[in-house]
């Protein structure tokens, strides 16, 4: 790793250029080539205009003995020329841009369909076999279609936008409808995925990773991801991510919507409305999962935010989540 790589991290990727992340989808070549066309076009016209401007300002400057020509006020052929040529260039830009836009908004048949849920402030991806993850995994070479929706447990769901710079693909996630985008990864690797529509306090942290894998590796991963791990604590974590606990309960002590899972196990926690304390044990977790309103914690008076999970989580699954909570004791 060179010093330049430290200051310009994108250069650490062998497929990236100084200006751009790797070209990792079928869109990337056309987007980049069109972008470069526009940049060079602008650069050429900039110099075509500015250099003569400075030259004329110097050549026709006021000086003793020089008399300007006050009559040169109009030249129809010249004015038509410099109007008509740019008009055709603009039409070309419009047509090429529209074709690219239409390509991006029309997924081909036989795509890998992935359900995307955007929340304040996390992403969740559900694969055809039912596997759920918070990072996006894709097989290389196969068109993938994102069927995106915005959800909130409480309050109004808001706009988000899914952007993968390496794919040169971006589309809004719009509440009240399923918005669709697609792309076909062409290069295995690990890429960034950002939210690019302002969505509130932690918008800037609403990002995750995309893993483009060889098809066999992807199949491997997606099968494994759908099977719970053997170890109880990891099984609990798997349930925590899959059942949506993650949307409201952090595991690092921070307050999201509900209380964090970290550092509460085995303690006496104060209840809302000064109703004393309760021991944070198996029975309290069981009760709170099935009837969240029964004993709301102090600072979380609005426990109605949480829906009852009675019937959605079996008792043995709740105990697995308890195992996960125990592992977050300190």
């Amino acid at each position: 790793m060179s010093l330049l790589d430290v200051f310009v991290p994108i250069l650490a990727d062998e497929h990236a250029t100084y200006w751009f992340p790797p070209q990792a989808s079928t869109f990337a070549k056309e987007v980049d080539s069109f972008f470069h066309f526009l940049v060079w076009l602008s650069a050429i016209f900039f110099f075509l205009i500015v250099i003569p401007m400075f030259y004329f300002a110097w050549k026709f400057r006021a000086r003793p003995g020089y008399k300007g020509d006050p009559e040169a006020l109009h030249n129809t052929p010249l004015e038509i020329t410099w109007t008509v040529i740019p008009t055709f260039i603009v039409i070309y830009i419009f047509v090429r841009g529209t074709m690219g836009y239409l390509d991006m908004s029309r997924p081909p048949a036989d795509t890998l369909d992935i359900q995307v849920v955007a929340r304040k402030w996390s992403w969740q991806f559900t694969y055809p076999n039912g596997a759920v993850s918070d990072e996006l995994h894709l097989p290389v070479g196969r068109p993938a279609k994102m069927i995106m929706r915005s959800e909130e447990l409480t309050g109004i769901p808001v706009l988000h936008s899914l952007f993968v710079p390496a794919f040169r693909a971006k589309a809004d996630v719009v509440p009240g409808r399923f918005n669709v985008m697609w792309f076909q990864p062409t290069l295995a690797g690990k890429y960034d995925l950002f939210c690019t529509e302002y969505c509130g306090d932690n918008h800037s942290r609403m990002m995750t990773k995309v893993y483009v894998q060889e098809p066999a590796d992807y199949e491997d991963w997606v099968t494994k991801a759908n099977k719970p791990p053997e170890e109880p604590k990891l099984h609990g974590e798997w349930l925590y991510k899959r059942q949506g606990c993650k949307g409201c309960h952090s595991v690092d002590g921070s307050k999201v919507v509900g209380p964090s899972f970290k550092g509460t196990w085995g303690k006496d926690v104060p209840l809302a409305g000064g109703k004393g304390t309760v021991a944070f044990d198996e029975n309290y977790v069981l009760e709170s999962v099935k009837n969240p309103q029964a004993k709301a914690r102090s600072g979380y008076e609005n426990a109605s935010a949480m829906p009852s999970y009675a019937g959605r989580l079996k008792d043995d699954q709740i105990l697995l989540i308890v195992e996960y909570m125990k592992s977050l004791k300190d």
Binding site: P70, Y101, L102, M104, Y198
Partner: protein
């Protein structure tokens, strides 16, 4: 039946034989400025006002850059950062750049360049300045009392859910909109009716062409913004179900309405500046502008196409089924 004759407003004349006398010093005292109907004084007051707004917006911009000096931020919480960039955008767009050239330079120069004594409606002119002041006060209150965090575009549904003073800020936008409409109306009537004999359309300085086109955009597009922010306030308070997806509203409708104003608004920002450069270069090179008619036509064309391009962002059918974020701004 008696006829009521509106007496023309008395415009104090500053044309005296005394060379040391001018519009700045002819009358003195706070009220002589606060109640003035003189276009030059109103223009100067606008200049002071928009400069103060520019300073405020600039300080907010410096706060953004200073905070971003380190990757993890320097001195603001996420929420404060969101409030700072929201106010930076709102102050710069609504308080500074929209009124800057038309209201300040336009007021000062338009009657002078036209050869008229003042604008057509001097009292309306002062009124639109005070509307600007009122709108500015609303924004300042939104800044210091509570945190507005919607971004300057007030996009739904976030602006429906936000705890910030959205109603206060949209009211500011509504009031500032009327300030802008009144100024535009005033300039249109002035240019149409108060040109002296001999000042044909194609004898007008290009700055006036630019100001005329700008004024038409202000009068035609700004009401759409006013309606949009009123609907937003109605949605927040009454839940009428036009933008809120939970009430079967469509949040993208807000974006279409919003850009119906805000796309043409970029021509409110750029056209007067183009007018200025056309005047400056031709004056300082002691030469008539090259292609005068083409420039005059092009400022009118920008106005027509600019207004329609706000509408065309709604047109492609694709837009309704898959709004790509790149399409909207």
């Amino acid at each position: 039946m008696s006829t009521v004759v509106n007496k023309p407003v008395e415009i104090p004349s500053y044309q005296t034989s005394d060379e040391k006398d001018n519009f700045l010093i002819s009358t003195r005292g706070f009220l002589s400025w606060a109640l003035t109907l003189d276009h030059k004084r109103i223009g100067l007051m606008y200049l002071v006002g928009v400069s103060a707004a520019f300073l405020l917006g600039g300080i907010l911009a410096l706060m953004i850059r200073a905070h971003l000096f380190l990757a993890d931020g320097v001195f603001l919480t996420n929420q404060q950062y969101n409030q700072v960039f929201t106010l930076h955008g709102a102050v710069m767009v609504f308080l500074f750049i929209i009124p800057s050239v038309p209201a300040a330079l336009g007021n000062f120069l338009l009657p002078v360049m036209l050869g008229a004594k003042d604008v057509a409606f001097p009292r309306l002119n002062l009124g639109s300045f005070y509307l600007w002041v009122t709108g500015a006060i609303f924004f300042i209150v939104a800044l210091f009392v509570t945190g507005l965090d919607t971004g300057w575009t007030f996009y739904t549904p976030y602006s429906l859910d936000s705890k910030g003073p959205v109603a206060l800020a949209t009211m500011a936008v509504f009031i500032l909109g009327f300030s802008s409409i009144f100024t535009g109306l005033n300039f249109i009537v002035t240019i149409n009716t108060m040109r002296p004999p001999g000042m044909a359309w194609f004898k007008m300085p290009l700055f006036l062409w630019a100001t005329y086109s700008t004024s038409i955009i202000q009068v035609l597009a700004t009401p759409v913004l006013g309606i949009t922010v009123l609907l937003l306030t109605a949605e927040r308070i009454l839940g009428i179900g036009i933008f809120d997806p939970q009430l079967n509203g469509d949040p993208v409708t807000f974006q279409h309405f919003f850009w119906f104003y805000s796309h043409p608004a970029v021509y409110i920002m750029i056209l007067p500046a183009m007018g200025i450069i056309s005047e400056l270069i031709s004056v300082h090179s002691h030469k008539g502008i090259f292609g005068y008619r083409f420039i005059a036509y092009s400022s009118s064309r920008s106005r027509c196409l600019g207004s329609s391009s706000g509408a065309t962002t709604c047109l492609p059918a694709e837009c309704l089924t898959s709004p790509q974020s790149s399409l909207v701004p």
